[in-house]
């Protein structure tokens, strides 16, 4: 028998992942032995782990490496995304530190699950192989199902967890069937190898059928995860029922990770097939833009409105994905940058908006009626201005982070030759501005219909300040952030 040689492993690639996985396992045991009254300590420890992991990545910035036979990658693209995920997780945990005890659901597992979900996201950003992408996706999804249903025994929380699980598992089935078909068509599960096979020669007719069917199934599955129309119907229900910090985590982390993997799959593996998938994805992008923004227009529940608006934002990011696949080097690289910048702006903004919702949320109440925001300016000027900044950034009004995100995405789509799509994007952005501004008007002019007490605590304030400061800094001085995303390249797109 021959000795099976295991190629040397480049541990630099997996450092951040190992830290998060290891720390999550340790925390799970620590949480068992921390007394109930001190469980908050676990949250602080989790944040510490996230900070350490983020710091551990700094020395490896700039290079491009892969290990485990190409299964794990570390390029500047994935490093940038890893930092985004770690930051989002830290802010979400900060939001939760007082939210959980206030709503009577403080358990140490919560923080551990957030860490595992973060690890899943990082796998999605770093995966160079369809197996790893699938595992990362399932790790992320399984933890998020549990987190969504975490407010047990509140019925809406369980219900949204169940709905999320059923749609998510369904989508998982699509993705994995698609992966199997692509494996059959190309004989490989490695993204780079698939890309090579497809670029080198045309496939036989039968294999092409498998390939396109498989790619369609994978895009459908990821479409569920990123809430792309027409696969977005779960999002409003899940956002509404989930504990609000979890909804924030869902709206930013899960979407960002889905896009990270979708870009990798479409650009790296399916890049040569761009002429085939671009029209299909463009149609889906239009549907997403229209359905998301028009759906948000008719909502009176602010949490559901944010859910629909997040569907709309997925549409804008899809414009970036479309451009990312465009042949000819420069346009493609622009697309990747646009997706990353948009994700950065969207993350900061949504985290801020959900932070304000958390401050307004009362125990045992599930109304986020728009009237609750009436006269907020008179009662809590700081909270009202924070919410206003977030909403303006979501609408894409300069000088906020959201404006630069939209600007970059539209430019990239335009340069890639999607002129009409850009026009639809701008039109829907105008629709979107209407419902965001509606809340702003409520806050600043309307008389308070009833006194909704708003509570903040130091951790929540810290999270909010980070998010708002991020929006403003990015808005007034976009140069450093743009510089950062311009250096964040998929190893195969511009690096080599």
């Amino acid at each position: 028998m021959t000795e099976i040689t295991i190629p040397p492993i480049d541990w630099r690639v997996a450092t951040q992942l190992c830290i998060i996985f290891g720390w999550a396992s340790v925390l799970l045991i620590i949480a068992l032995f921390v007394p109930r009254s001190r469980i908050r300590v676990v949250g602080y420890l989790a944040i510490a782990g996230l900070v350490v992991a983020a710091g551990a990545g700094i020395p490896f910035w700039g290079g491009s490496a892969e290990t485990f036979g190409g299964m794990l990658r570390l390029d500047t693209y994935s490093m940038m995304l890893n930092w985004l995920f770690l930051a989002a997780a830290a802010v979400v945990i900060a939001y939760s530190l007082n939210y959980l005890p206030k709503h009577g659901i403080e358990h140490g597992e919560y923080y551990v699950l957030v860490l595992f979900a973060t690890a899943g996201m990082m796998l999605l950003a770093q995966g160079g192989d369809l197996i790893v992408l699938f595992l990362g996706l399932e790790l992320l999804s399984l933890t998020l199902y549990v987190l969504t249903g975490f407010a047990y025994p509140r019925e809406t929380s369980e219900e949204s967890g169940m709905k999320y699980l059923l749609t998510g598992a369904f989508a998982g089935g699509f993705i994995v069937f698609g992966i199997a078909l692509i494996y059959g068509a190309t004989g490989s599960l490695n993204l780079a190898a698939i890309g090579d096979t497809l670029a080198r020669a045309a496939l036989a007719a039968e294999d092409r059928t498998y390939l396109y069917a498989g790619a369609a199934l994978i895009v459908t599955g990821f479409g569920y995860k990123i809430a792309m129309a027409p696969f977005h119907m779960w999002a409003p229900d899940v956002y509404e029922g989930a504990p609000t910090p979890v909804a924030a985590f869902l709206s930013v982390g899960s979407k960002a990770a889905g896009f990270a993997a979708l870009v990798r799959f479409l650009v790296e593996a399916m890049g040569s097939q761009w002429p085939v998938w671009a029209p299909a994805l463009a149609t889906l992008a239009i549907a997403t833009l229209l359905l998301g923004n028009i759906g948000a227009l008719i909502q009176n529940n602010v949490k559901r409105m944010l859910a629909y608006s997040s569907v709309g934002h997925a549409g804008y990011m899809l414009l970036g994905v479309l451009a990312a696949g465009a042949p000819g080097g420069m346009a493609g690289q622009r697309g990747v940058e646009a997706v990353l910048l948009y994700l950065l702006a969207y993350m900061l903004t949504n985290l801020g908006a959900f932070g304000v919702l958390i401050a307004l949320e009362q125990r045992g109440e599930l109304t986020w009626d728009i009237n609750q925001f009436a006269g907020l300016w008179a009662r809590r000027p700081l909270l009202a201005s924070a919410m206003a900044i977030c909403l303006l950034s979501l609408a894409g009004v300069p000088p906020t982070a959201g404006f630069w995100g939209k600007f970059y995405v539209f430019t990239a789509a335009w340069q890639a030759g999607f002129g009409w799509l850009t026009i639809i994007g701008i039109l829907t952005a105008a629709i979107a501005a209407f419902y965001y501004v509606r809340i702003v008007v409520q806050m600043f002019t309307a008389e308070p219909s009833r006194e909704t007490p708003a509570e903040t605590d130091p951790a929540l304030r810290a999270g909010l300040v980070i998010a708002i400061a991020g929006i403003l800094v990015l808005g007034f001085m976009p140069a450093p952030a743009i510089d950062l995303v311009q250096r964040s390249v998929l190893a195969t797109v511009g690096g080599q």
């Binding site: 028998m1 021959t2 099976i4 295991i6 396992s25 799970l28 045991i29 068992l32």
Partner: protein
Amino acid sequence: MLANYAFVGVFFVAAVIFPLIPIVAAYFLGPKRPTPTKLDTYECGLEAVGDIRVQFKVQYYLYALAFVIFDIEVVFLYPWAVAYGELGLFALIAMAVFLFSLVEALVYAWKKGALEWV
């Protein structure tokens, strides 16, 4: 070669058609005069009592769930054991890490009282 299997197909078709004929015939020919007693659940002549959904103790479910997880993990142990001779030290460490995480899950379940029979 494939023709040898034709009789399987013939059998299959016959097996489907044969019971279908009386069922369809009964459906069209038989008189239907339902009464509440006739529509009642058939319990060997006894009267049906209570709900069919019997409450099991929740421990049954916890055991079942824990079993499903730990049972499936063996899937990774078999190929590892078969190829163990050729794999060397690294695979041993990798499997140790894997088993450690399983033990950790067991410790967690234990400490949470999932294994208690109350």
